[in-house]
């Protein structure tokens, strides 16, 4: 059971970050929205600061634990480009990703977010499982 403490605590911190941004700045911590607005030139200041913090996060973790978090990427460059395009197009078309829909949307009992989260979980599981069997 001990090994589930970091995911649980990490998840609670992600929730805390979302609540902080919501109660103080009045904004939804949805990463695809934040990056998309930044690219579109909207509310550059706060969105750029949030992204800067996101980049600092792994290094704060490194300072506190003595090592960077493991990041293992098995996909080939071609697959990464294809997958990246799908994630970019899909999150903007679907108005959100794992954070905006999956955390805040569910917490707000938004029917749109419940539909979106069910769909990206099902397609994500289907594709990853198929890829795993194929590999």
């Amino acid at each position: 059971m001990m090994s589930y403490w970091p995911p649980l605590l990490g998840g609670m911190l992600i929730g805390l970050s979302a609540v902080l941004l919501l109660l103080v700045n009045g904004r939804i911590a949805g990463i695809s929205g934040i990056v998309g607005r930044l690219l579109g030139g909207h509310q550059i200041g706060p969105n750029a600061m949030f992204v800067a913090g996101l980049l600092l996060g792994p290094w704060l973790y490194a300072v506190m634990t003595g090592h960077l978090p493991p990041v293992t990427i098995a996909a080939t460059p071609m697959l990464l480009i294809f997958a990246g395009l799908l994630v970019g197009i899909g999150t903007r078309m679907g108005s959100g990703c794992t954070s905006g829909h999956g955390i805040l949307g569910l917490a707000r009992f938004s029917k749109r977010s419940m539909a979106a989260t069910s769909i990206f979980l099902v397609t994500g599981i289907t594709v990853a499982t198929f890829m795993g069997a194929w590999r």
Binding site: Y4, P7, G10, G11, I14, G15, L16, S17, A18, V19, L20, L22, V24, N25, G26, A29, S32, V35, G36, L39, G40, G45, P46, M49, V51, G53, L54, L55, L56, G57, P58, Y61, L68, V71, I73, P77, L80, F82, A83, G84, G88, G90, R92, G94, S95, S99, G102, I103, L106, A107, K111, R112, A115, I119, F120, T123, G124, V127, A128, T129
Partner: protein
């Protein structure tokens, strides 16, 4: 002054988010694939704990938000207005899920992992940004 505090809060929220992604393991595509690939024989349920932990804090947070007239540093809450479960929402979520399942990256970890400096992260993030711009500047006109 209020603008400066708002920027500071955005920086703090981003840092806590990036730290949370790191601590939880969600920043690691291998962990994410280990959760999404349910037939691998060594399924890793960790990410259910990440989502559960996030909701554990977000649910009371939203309950507090509903009792407030406005956020601390703005005139009003900026919440999504759309309520319709329409084709772009469903199709977009399916496309996103497919990309997530292929590489194990969703937007938060893709951005956070950039600071670690792996070439693969940059390739994915560049393609993701290209996909976002492709959608916002071309596709959105046909779908909205």
């Amino acid at each position: 002054m209020r603008t400066a505090f708002r920027l500071l809060v955005a920086l703090a929220a981003g840092t806590i988010f990036g730290f949370g992604l790191s601590l939880s393991g969600m920043v690691d595509p291998a962990r994410v694939i280990g959760f999404l690939d349910v037939a691998s024989g060594h399924w890793d349920p960790s990410l259910a704990f990440v989502l559960g932990g996030a909701l554990l804090v977000a649910l009371p947070g939203v309950a507090i938000q509903r009792r407030l007239a406005r956020p601390a540093l703005d005139e009003r809450f900026h919440l999504p207005a759309a309520t319709a479960i329409d084709p772009p929402l469903l199709l977009g979520s399916a496309i996103f899920g497919a990309g997530w399942g292929l590489a194990g990256f969703c937007p938060g970890p893709a951005v956070a992992s950039l600071s670690i400096g792996l070439v693969s992260s940059f390739i994915f993030a560049a393609a993701m940004v290209a996909g976002m711009m492709l959608h916002d500047r071309l596709l959105a006109r046909h779908f909205r």
